[in-house]
């Protein structure tokens, strides 16, 4: 991929109740956002273990984003609080694996925030494009 422009591969974990619906809304509203995101639907942002994030980043993804319901809106009451607590551990792990902090994001996107979802993905894709490929990508 020497001459081609670098296209980041971003893995997005979206919670079933808010963010996946938000992504859906972005789709049905025909909002444009870069095709670099691969969405994985999970039941709750709180179930995304740091292992999954680190595995993705060390095995081919350039960035990972976790999207969940806004604090207080979690379908399971406190799942997104667990996600937020893990964010700190994930940030430290990125440091331990020599990865830039920009390669991981945690965002709250509700089911009605299609435009916000598109905006977040646009922003992140550009940021990661500027960073270049993950050092673990071969």
């Amino acid at each position: 991929m020497s001459d081609e422009e670098f296209e980041p591969r971003i893995i997005g974990f979206c919670c079933n109740w808010c963010s996946y619906a938000g992504a859906d809304l972005a789709g049905v509203s025909r909002l444009q956002y870069p095709p670099n995101l691969r969405v994985i639907r999970v039941m709750c942002s709180g179930m995304v273990h740091p292992n999954l994030v680190i595995d993705a980043l060390t095995k081919g993804a350039d960035a990972v984003i976790i999207c969940g319901c806004h604090l207080g809106d979690c379908h399971y009451l406190e799942g997104n609080v667990a996600a937020e607590n893990r964010k700190e551990a994930i940030d430290l792990l990125l440091e331990d694996f020599g990865l830039e902090p920009e390669r991981f994001r945690l965002e709250w996107v509700s089911a009605s925030e299609g435009p916000k979802f598109a905006e977040v993905i646009r922003e992140m894709t550009e940021e990661v494009r500027a960073l270049g490929p993950s050092p673990y990508r071969t």
């Binding site: 740091p50 292992n51 667990a82 607590n85 430290l92 960073l131």
Partner: protein, 315 residues
């Protein structure tokens, strides 16, 4: 007929060989069944013939091969390959052989950086060239034995528990497979667990722990809940022996110290660093306070690519 055993030590301190001695009385029952045909730590057996007359390395054929220590240089790699060729069953003994062990902490740095540190940048010695004569060249990093040749049986531990060696050899004599159960140290630890969050500060093991010596283990509070960093949740169980009262106590726990993680990850492919950080954040300890996280949580398991030099960041 006695089973032929070949033992070889590679990049190791020799502690695992002492553990074989430490088997104690059960060793007397085992010995008639075993015939050690090659064991550098005990017997004078040269690789290239007794007077060095041969050109090919020679290790006698054996039914069971035991390798302790990781693979650091070309000679050790050669010996490991020769052992694999000559032995029907190969046992990796100790954490160095299974995961790289303490020496594999060097994998955090590229080889050139290590040479510079030792031979050129050391403040108390004169700067010199890297020695190359009459020494086997070092490999680029420390390898676990199974990164070089296939291994049949793993006996981790630093040093390991003599009881496991006996169990492994006995089951091999009976023709059975031997594998440690995939359980964590916490699964078999008998201490009392009350509630998750101990909150805040991670204490150092120098600070005194709350326990009464001799008291029943069910009354001693979990060290992790007391705020000490214990690697029990992410470490393979098996180090403890059954006590007289039927309770199995992991060895460090028995000595009133938190688990250091020498038995390595619970299953292949697990990453204790990541798992432990998750565990720490989920019980409410401050993960930022863990000193030298990468080295500390990978202390015995730096081989198999778990520790590697950090990728250079583009400036």
């Amino acid at each position: 007929m006695a089973v032929k055993v070949a033992e070889e030590w590679l990049n190791i301190c020799g502690g695992c060989e002492v553990t074989i001695l430490d088997i104690g009385e059960p060793l007397l029952d085992l010995l008639p069944e075993l015939n050690f045909v090659h064991m550098p730590v005990l017997m004078d057996h040269k690789y290239f013939g007794q007077t060095g007359e041969k050109t090919e390395m020679e290790i006698p054929e054996a039914d069971v091969g035991i390798i302790s220590g990781g693979v650091r240089n070309e000679k050790e790699k050669h010996v490991a390959e020769e052992m694999r060729k000559k032995c029907k069953t190969l046992i990796a003994l100790g954490s160095c052989a299974c995961y790289g062990g303490i020496p594999a902490m060097a994998n955090m740095f590229p080889l050139e950086a290590l040479y510079d540190k030792v031979y050129r940048d050391c403040k108390t010695t004169d700067s010199a060239d890297t020695p190359s004569e009459n020494l086997p060249p070092l490999l680029d990093k420390v390898y676990a034995v199974d990164e070089v040749v296939p291994v049949d049986v793993y006996i981790p531990g630093c040093p390991t528990n003599p009881d496991i060696i006996v169990r492994a050899i006995t089951s091999l004599l009976e023709g059975k497979e031997f594998k440690l159960e995939e359980r964590s140290v916490c699964d078999e630890c008998p201490v009392k667990r009350e509630k998750k969050a101990s909150g805040g500060e991670i204490k150092r093991t120098l600070d005194s722990m709350e326990f009464k010596q001799g008291e029943a283990w069910e009354k001693t509070r979990c060290y992790m809940e007391q705020g000490y960093l214990c690697l029990g949740p992410v470490t393979l169980a098996g180090c403890g022996n059954k006590e007289e009262d039927g309770v199995t106590v992991p060895r460090c726990i028995k000595g009133y110290m938190p688990c250091r993680g020498c038995f390595g990850p619970i299953r292949k492919g697990a990453n204790p660093l990541v798992d432990m950080m998750t565990a720490i954040s989920s019980i409410g300890l401050d993960a930022k306070q863990v000193p030298d996280r990468r080295a500390l949580l990978n202390r015995y398991i730096g081989g198999q690519n778990r520790l590697r030099p950090l990728p250079a960041r583009p400036k």
